[in-house]
């Protein structure tokens, strides 16, 4: 790559060129697409909100060159295989890799076309996978960052939903439920998208109610003997189950979401020792909403809980 190709004339006089010596290091192939049509490759190393600095290779050395964002059309940050694997499966083991890239890429969260938000959300999910309150708080911070700063509106929406899970995981279930209600009342958007958003948010709200119920059971092992706790348990149970079956009741066309909700209802009924109801809904999944993820689980459940056909 020739220097006169990658450096616009504008910067020849002002660019801070730091030429390295010795064997050229192997640089990641990040790239900038300039508005002029030029493409610059190298390693994107910093962004201060106005200027983005990229380290490019020049013969035997490398140079760090700042570019004003105003001249940049698109920034592509290379996703190496390790990060790609972590993004595909954001479990607890993926936290170190995701954290490393999040630290490195965080400044680019608002830069169009970058995948920084994706890394942040994967890291949040990986933290949430641990089930620990502290990790829930970390996840909350990450979702908040994406929600407020990501350039991608789709990811902002995802972050808004994931934030509720993080709130719940960090023990702020009440707040999560309140925010879920607000989300539920959001309008606008296309018909199918709106239906999906509504089913998702109700499912999330139901999840939160169910978590709260489990917490109540844990806090008050003898809740059945306690009138107030019994009433709260009943209210949470109804809220959770109503939310779980909402998709299958009103939007059966959203088969995957309906199936997910029904499966959660099966698990809830099973937990509540309402085996008959659990079986009815498991049969619903196998018969009418056979999603790849939940049909095998429902079949397994029915196998383990055989009953004569009604």
């Amino acid at each position: 790559m020739k220097m006169n190709r990658i450096l616009p004339a504008l910067f020849l006089s002002t660019a801070a060129l730091i030429l390295g010596v010795g064997a050229p290091p192997s640089l990641p192939a990040d790239s900038l697409q300039l508005k002029s049509g030029q493409k610059v490759e190298g390693e994107v190393i910093s962004f201060d909100g106005k200027n983005l600095k990229i380290r490019s290779q020049f013969g035997a050395g490398s140079a760090e060159v700042p570019y004003p964002m105003a001249l940049i059309e698109k920034v592509t940050l290379t996703v190496p295989p390790a990060l790609s694997a972590a993004l595909a499966e954001p479990v607890a083991a993926a936290v170190p890799v995701l954290e490393e890239y999040w630290k490195r890429w965080e400044p680019f969260l608002a830069v169009p076309e970058t995948d920084t938000g994706r890394v942040a959300l994967a890291l949040a999910k990986a933290h949430l996978a641990s089930g620990k309150k502290k990790d829930g708080q970390t996840a909350l911070g990450l979702t908040e960052a994406v929600r407020s700063r990501d350039w991608n509106s789709g990811r902002k929406e995802e972050a808004t939903r994931l934030r509720l899970t993080a709130l719940a995981a960090s023990g702020k279930i009440e707040q999560a439920m309140e925010e879920a209600s607000q989300l539920e009342n959001l309008g606008g958007g296309d018909e199918s998208g709106l239906a999906q958003a509504r089913v998702r948010s109700l499912l999330l709200k139901a999840d939160l109610a169910w978590k709260k119920l489990l917490k109540l059971e844990e806090t008050w092992p003898k809740w059945q003997e306690m009138p107030e706790q019994r009433a709260e348990h009943s209210q949470l149970r109804q809220e959770a189950l109503d939310g779980f079956v909402f998709g299958a009741t009103f939007h059966p066309e959203l088969a995957d979401l309906a199936s997910e909700g029904l499966w959660k209802a099966v698990e809830a009924h099973h937990h509540l020792q309402q085996k008959d109801q659990a079986i009815v809904l498991a049969r619903e999944i196998t018969g009418y909403f056979p999603s790849a993820e939940f049909k095998p689980r429902a079949e397994q459940f029915l196998k383990q809980n055989p009953t004569p056909n009604k």
Binding site: T219, W220, P221, M226, D242, T249, F250, G287
Partner: protein
């Protein structure tokens, strides 16, 4: 759905193959207009003018001219070379005018005359179309099948196939339509697939093949661009759902209904498709090419879509009816949750109408099925507000009353049931409601009111369905009111009327009980003996046996009494234990101590988990003590502690441990006892019996509580174990409360909190909850969490208002309120202490003194004085408070400038020489000196 609509579309779907004709017309086009300027007379003129008219799409003229040519010159040899084209154009001009009847012979003639003709494929197809439009479906089918056979590669084949299906439909051969279309569906071009799908669905429905229709419904994609007739699809789906519901196929019906869109959604989408169609029609009309059939096809289709929309719009309350059907299907599937969700949405969205009333009611039914009583009450009240005087009002009011009863809200339930019975006297459940109103009164212990209520019931419904229940429960109301004479009479009436009634056995028992209550034991035992004999092995006979035993004992017939008690089975353990203890007491009364001992020893074996275990041990210990066998008595308890001490849930273990402590009060017994307990603790701990080990330690602490309270509390603090964060679930509530208090007093807040929380978490019904709430409140107060403390105290008052700790809690509340500047509220809380009899003494003194102080703080010495006075007048025993009260009282008078009264107060104070040691005494003396006394 009529087939005519479908046919209209299909018959006009075809384009004419008129290229050869076009070429011919080009040849003549130059002279045609000139010929047409005058009336054509010659064959050439007719031909030229006819072709010209056809080219100009003047169909009637073309028909007329070409028809004249055919009839006038058609048979001449010169015309032969033109006849193939003349016949074709003549037929097509007629088809353009939808004159299928007239076109048919020309098409037929063409096919017969020109089997190798250029337009043989097109004309063959059109013959089928024409026949289908002229009431000859079988002829049409024959022509179309022949067309497909001869021209299998024709692009008209799918059209012909669809038309064949239509002719079958026309002949009501619905199953044949479905069979015919089934293998073709996958190959149908997109432009026809939507219509074929509709035809298939309609045919399957007509053929009664509902599972196949459901499969067709599933295969139809209303989102596909080819699905032009959305409204027709929705109506078919609705019809399918209804048919399935009629056959009790609720789940399948539900599936059909759930595929139906709301009317606004269908109409909006349909309107969009119609707009597209009309644009296509306009484009086709603007196209001056010779292919006019696309325009006709689209125009017809647009017309049908409009018709579908009109049909859909005509259906009143379409969406509501659909939602009802969905809810109904869920109800039929006993999925009340989903049904109520659907109905809830209807209730939210519907304007006030009969439909809304029905939705309200059905939702109420579902909520009752789900036992969501609070919501059911809300729903019922909403209904009554929205639909006063509705025909369903009685049912709704009944549900509301029932919900209140289920929530144990008997007071409003009684009123609600009575209201239903009074307002809706013709309601089918009016009698039941009236009865339940009385029943709820009994639950409120308003037995006298219930008796009167049931009297009114029997007057109003002398032969009602609930007569038996009413007669019985009225007798029971007398029984509960302790009006035994009346109870006996009333039960007698019941037995006379219902000798084999549901409650006959119980009525017999209550009658005997009435005799027993008036001490007529002789009469009572006779009736009870009969009852026990008549109903052996029943719950009633157990209760009767006990009452019989009581009667015999009252008569002094001990042996017969014992015999009666021994008949009581263990079905009801409480009743069994009662009988056992009565027998034991009889042995004691008869001074048959050996029998008494054997009897209670057997009890220990039979009823090891009885809550009366400690009582039984007490009986045995008393026997030993009476015999001077104190060691035996102590060992008895000791063994019981060893045996049952590790049973965490067992009641009475602490009571027997406390008795054991009392048995070892003597100094010479205490030390060995403590050593033995320590040994038991170690042994239990090494055997993993954590509860027993803890109980042994707790017993040790109890044994030295008075002599070495610090050590005792230290031991109590050790009860939860040293492991931090571990919940001491192995401890019984009393151990937890004692440990919690000891830890709290020693400043181990966190550990104390765990102990108290464990009581609340694991023993929510324990009577020691008061100590947990109080302890948690005090801990919160100490750590400055005043809001949290007040919350705990609120819970305390809500759940443990009878607690002896109430005064302490009120004191703490007052302290917090003072800090928060809520002095009046603090004074009020302290005032409440003066209403607690158990706090009389120091508790009252402390409250009075603090109230006085707070009044002073408020700058109201006038109100402070009586509180101080009350202390030194009435509570002389608490000298420190008496001295402080004198001093404060004197000071208050001085602030009020009532110097004489102040002086008298100080004088009275110093005249009590037994108060000389108090710090206030010297201050009073000094003040008197200053005042010149």
């Amino acid at each position: 759905m009529g087939s005519a609509h479908l046919m209209l579309t299909l018959e006009s779907m075809f384009k004419s193959r008129i290229l050869p004709l076009g070429m011919l017309l080009l040849f003549w086009v130059g002279s045609g207009s000139a010929v047409l300027a005058q009336e054509p007379k010659s064959a050439t003129d007719l031909l030229q003018a006819g072709f010209y008219a056809y080219q100009n799409r003047e169909w009637p003229k073309a028909e007329e001219l070409l028809g004249r040519f055919a009839s006038d010159y058609g048979k001449s040899a010169e015309a032969a070379q033109y006849m193939e084209k003349v016949l074709r154009l003549l037929a097509l001009a007629q088809i353009q005018q939808k004159k299928f009847q007239e076109a048919e012979p020309h098409l037929d003639r063409y096919l017969k005359s020109y089997p190798q003709g250029d337009a043989i494929e097109e004309i063959g197809f059109w013959l089928g179309v024409a026949r289908s439009r002229t009431g000859n479906p079988s002829g049409a089918r024959q022509s179309l099948e022949e067309f497909i056979k001869k021209h299998p590669q024709s692009r008209r084949v799918p059209d012909a196939q669809l038309l064949i299906a239509l002719t079958l439909y026309e002949e009501d051969k619905f199953a044949a339509v479905a069979d015919y279309l089934q293998p073709l569906m996958a190959r149908m071009p997109p432009s026809l697939a939507g219509q074929a799908g509709i035809l298939q669905l309609a045919s399957l429905l007509e053929a009664g093949k509902l599972p196949e229709a459901l499969a067709a419904l599933r295969a139809f994609d209303p989102q596909a661009p080819s699905a032009t007739r959305l409204s027709a699809f929705q109506l078919l789906a609705l019809s399918l759902g209804d048919k399935l519901a009629d056959k009790n196929e609720a789940r399948s019906a539900l599936e059909a209904y759930q595929r139906i869109w709301s009317k606004p959604r269908v109409l909006a989408r349909q309107q969009g498709r119609l707009r597209e169609l009309e644009e296509a029609v306009a484009r086709a009309a603007a196209d001056k090419g010779e292919d006019r059939f696309e325009e006709l096809r689209l125009r017809d289709l647009a017309g049908q879509v409009k018709g579908d929309m009109v049909n859909l719009e005509k259906i009143p309350d379409y969406d509501t009816a659909l939602q009802f059907r969905i809810a109904r299907a869920f109800v039929d599937l006993e999925r009340f949750r989903e049904a109520q969700l659907v109905l809830a949405r209807m209730v939210e969205k519907l304007p006030a109408s009969e439909m809304l009333a029905q939705a309200y009611y059905q939702r109420l039914v579902c909520l009752a099925q789900l036992e969501r009583w609070e919501e059911a009450i809300g729903q019922a009240e909403g209904f009554e507000k929205k639909f006063p005087g509705h025909k369903l009002s009685p049912n709704v009011a009944y549900f509301r009353a029932e919900a209140l009863m289920r929530l144990q809200k008997h007071e409003p339930a009684a009123a609600a049931f009575a209201d239903v019975a009074a307002r809706f006297q013709n309601f089918s459940e009016a009698e039941r409601c009236h009865f339940l109103a009385g029943y709820c009164q009994m639950m409120l212990d308003k037995n006298t009111e219930a008796v009167a209520h049931f009297d009114r019931h029997l007057e109003q419904w002398a032969k009602g369905a609930f007569r038996e229940q009413v007669v019985y429960w009225q007798a029971m109301a007398y029984h509960y009111a302790k009006e035994y004479e009346k109870s006996r009479e009333a039960h007698g009436r019941y037995l006379k009327e219902y000798p084999k009634g549901t409650y006959a056995a119980d009525s017999q028992l209550r009658r005997a009980y009435a005799l027993f209550a008036r001490k007529d034991y002789t009469a009572a035992y006779k009736e009870l003996e009969t009852l026990v004999k008549e109903r052996p092995g029943t719950a009633t006979s157990d209760e009767a046996s006990n009452l019989l035993g009581d009667s015999y004992f009252a008569m002094g017939e001990i042996d017969r009494g014992i015999e009666a008690y021994r008949r009581t089975s263990v079905r009801d353990p409480r009743m069994f234990d009662y009988a056992w203890f009565r027998v034991g007491q009889a042995f004691k009364a008869l001074e048959q101590y050996d029998k008494q001992e054997a009897h209670f020893r057997e009890f220990l074996k039979k009823r090891a988990d009885s809550p009366r275990l400690a009582e039984a041990l007490g009986q045995l210990a008393a026997i030993h003590r009476r015999n001077g066998e104190d060691e035996k008595a102590r060992n008895l308890y000791w063994e019981a502690l060893r045996e049952h001490g590790d049973k965490g849930e067992m009641q009475g273990v602490e009571a027997l441990a406390t008795t054991l402590v009392k048995m070892h009060r003597a100094p010479e017994l205490l030390e060995p006892f403590l050593g033995r307990l320590a040994g038991l603790e170690r042994e239990a701990a090494s055997a993993g019996k954590k509860t027993l080990a803890a109980r042994a330690l707790w017993t040790r602490a109890q044994a030295i509580m008075k002599s070495q309270p610090d050590t005792a509390r230290e031991w109590l603090r050790q009860l939860p174990g040293a492991e931090p964060g571990t919940e001491p679930v192995h401890l019984s509530p009393i151990l937890l409360a004692d440990a919690g208090d000891a830890l709290r007093e020693a400043g181990s807040a966190e550990k104390a909190q765990v102990c108290y929380q464990t009581i609340l978490r694991w023993h929510p019904r324990s009577l020691l909850k008061d100590r947990a709430y109080a302890g948690l409140g005090l801990l919160a107060e100490k750590s400055g969490e005043r809001g949290q403390a007040l919350e705990w105290f609120e819970r305390f008052e809500k759940e443990s208002i009878q607690s002896p700790l109430l005064a302490q809690v009120l004191q703490a509340k007052a302290r917090i309120l003072v800090i928060e500047g809520r002095t009046d509220e603090a004074i009020a809380q302290l005032g409440r202490i003066l209403e607690i009899p158990s706090a009389r003494g120091l508790g009252w003194v402390e409250a009075l003194y603090r109230m006085g102080e707070l009044h002073l703080k408020k700058g109201d010495p006038g109100k402070a004085v009586p509180h101080f006075q009350r202390i030194y007048v009435m509570y002389g025993r608490w000298t420190d408070y008496v001295a402080k009260s004198y001093w404060q009282s004197g000071q208050a008078f001085e602030k009020l400038q009532r110097m004489e009264e102040a002086k008298k107060t100080y004088q009275e104070f110093v005249s009590n020489t037994h108060l000389k040691e108090t710090p206030e005494y010297a201050k009073a003396e000094a003040r008197l000196k200053e005042m010149g006394i």
